[in-house]
């Protein structure tokens, strides 16, 4: 839908600005109507521009507008100002939210990337000695997380096993049959040792 991203700054070009104003003002009025209808709440919008000496408003009817404004007027100052914002505050709030979001996603990305590194090492494509200090630390964190997840799943399954009377936990078998890749220091791990016989489900 967006042909070209509009720069969020005052539009110098007179014609563009006027056209943009007309379209966007219309859009705002429409959105106001939708919000008011869908959620059954009173709304008032007043727009003052260089293009019209009279302010353009929603709701369009004088009485409806009067009602909302009267309701606003009757509020104590505290209630009015609690959620009141101007441009500065509003944009600052948006910046804060966007920054938080960004940090969150960046963190997840880091974890995802490290997970790939972990798999690389386990496969034998990379070795820990190839990694830098920071990567090793992050890798350690990811491994810990993964182990935690595994523990959780183990507990769940143990619970299920315990509740079902027939099955038995094969702990003795497991201990002796583990043949996971152990990444030797200085050399890449030989993953061919990986025991793939344990794939049958119970």
């Amino acid at each position: 839908m967006t042909r070209n991203r509009v720069k969020m700054a005052y539009i110098e070009n007179e014609t563009s600005r006027k056209a943009t104003f007309r379209k966007r003002k219309g859009g705002i009025m429409k959105k106001a109507l939708e919000l008011s209808t869908l959620c059954d709440v009173p709304i008032a919008v007043i727009v003052q521009s260089e293009y019209n000496s009279v302010p353009e408003v929603f709701p369009p009817s004088r009485q409806a507008m009067g009602n909302v404004v009267a309701r606003w007027d009757s509020l104590p100052l505290v209630d009015k100002t609690k959620k009141m914002m101007n441009q500065e505050q509003f944009i600052q709030q948006r910046i804060t939210k966007a920054t938080e979001s960004c940090k969150k996603v960046a963190k997840e990305n880091k974890e995802l990337a490290m997970k790939e590194v972990m798999y690389d090492c386990l496969r034998g494509d990379t070795a820990p000695c190839d990694l830098g200090e920071d990567e090793l630390r992050d890798l350690g964190g990811v491994i810990d997380q993964y182990i935690k997840g595994l523990n959780r799943r183990i507990q769940v399954l143990m619970r299920d096993h315990a509740s079902s009377s027939t099955s038995v936990v094969p702990d003795a078998d497991v201990a002796t049959s583990v043949a996971m890749p152990t990444a030797e220091m200085g050399s890449s791990s030989n993953v061919k040792d990986f025991d793939l016989n344990q794939t049958q489900s119970e």
């Binding site: 969020m8 007043i46 003052q48 009015k80 101007n86 183990i154 702990d171």
Partner: protein, 275 residues
């Protein structure tokens, strides 16, 4: 048609039936309406006020330059005279500059956010596409008990290797790590060759703490001396050997000031964050 949200679907223009949905819709749409209003002001220089009552009897309002000015003008039905006097003009110009600054910053952060989101999608897609024969690369929800235990053992072994590798970087030559000051002492972390690193990275302290918790190797543990950390655990002063104690305080403040851009909306400490 199965969709993630009601976004590209038509909805009836009547009051919503579901209470929860109504609340969520209100939240989102109110926020969107304010955003549109804000953009209209920025792009076209209009003055605007939006007043919204919530289903829960609260009131939200947005106004540019501010709610009161626009409402008063509307109620008094004054002839629309802008630029009443020079002071007003100056204030307006100042306000607009601040707003423009903020908008630029917002644009920048939004772009970053989109980049990270895209990267997120790419990474997730890559994992989906990478069909490998290794059963342990699949989601753990599909593992049976044996596989879970086996993989866990393997990972624990692997972690030991990683820890050992990591501890190689922690070669401090037996010196403890001093915060605190004395005009004769040299400060900073000694690197592998025993040289002083006076370019103290702000991140180093946190890294050391992390290494300590991460590494099981207690012989290499670095213990920061808590009582001589004037500014608390999260901050390292940049000490230069030739400065005495008083100067150190000054050095730190200076560093802080120079590292922080002059952005009135940013508290200085937000620059010194660990990733």
């Amino acid at each position: 048609m199965v969709t993630k949200n009601k976004g590209r679907q038509k909805i009836e223009m009547v009051k919503m039936k579901n209470e929860n949905n109504l609340q969520v819709t209100f939240s989102k749409r109110r926020s969107g309406l304010f955003k549109k209003a804000s953009e209209l002001c920025t792009l076209c220089g209009a003055e605007i006020v939006v007043i919204v009552f919530s289903p829960g009897r609260k009131v939200f309002s947005f106004g540019h330059p501010n709610v009161d000015v626009v409402i008063d003008r509307f109620l008094n039905i004054n002839p629309h005279h802008r630029h009443q006097n020079n002071n007003l003009q100056l204030n307006e110009a100042c306000l607009n500059a601040v707003v423009q600054d903020l908008n630029n910053h917002l644009t920048q952060v939004t772009e970053q956010l989109e980049e990270e989101k895209k990267r997120n999608e790419d990474l997730k897609q890559k994992r989906k596409d990478d069909k490998s024969e290794n059963w342990w690369e699949d989601p753990i929800e599909g593992f049976n008990l044996r596989q879970l235990i086996e993989f866990k053992c393997g990972l624990e072994n692997f972690k030991k290797t990683v820890t050992t590798e990591a501890s190689k970087y922690l070669q401090v030559t037996g010196h403890n790590f001093y915060f605190g000051s004395s005009s004769n002492a040299t400060f900073g972390i000694f690197d592998n060759d025993g040289n002083t690193n006076s370019e103290l990275d702000l991140f180093n302290h946190r890294r050391l703490v992390d290494m300590n918790t991460f590494s099981g190797n207690h012989q290499n543990m670095i213990i920061p001396h808590p009582s001589t950390t004037p500014y608390g655990n999260n901050v390292i002063e940049r000490f230069a050997p030739e400065h005495d104690q008083n100067q150190n305080q000054y050095c730190f403040k200076q560093e802080r000031a120079s590292e922080c851009d002059h952005q009135p909306d940013h508290p200085p400490h937000c620059r010194h964050k660990y990733y």
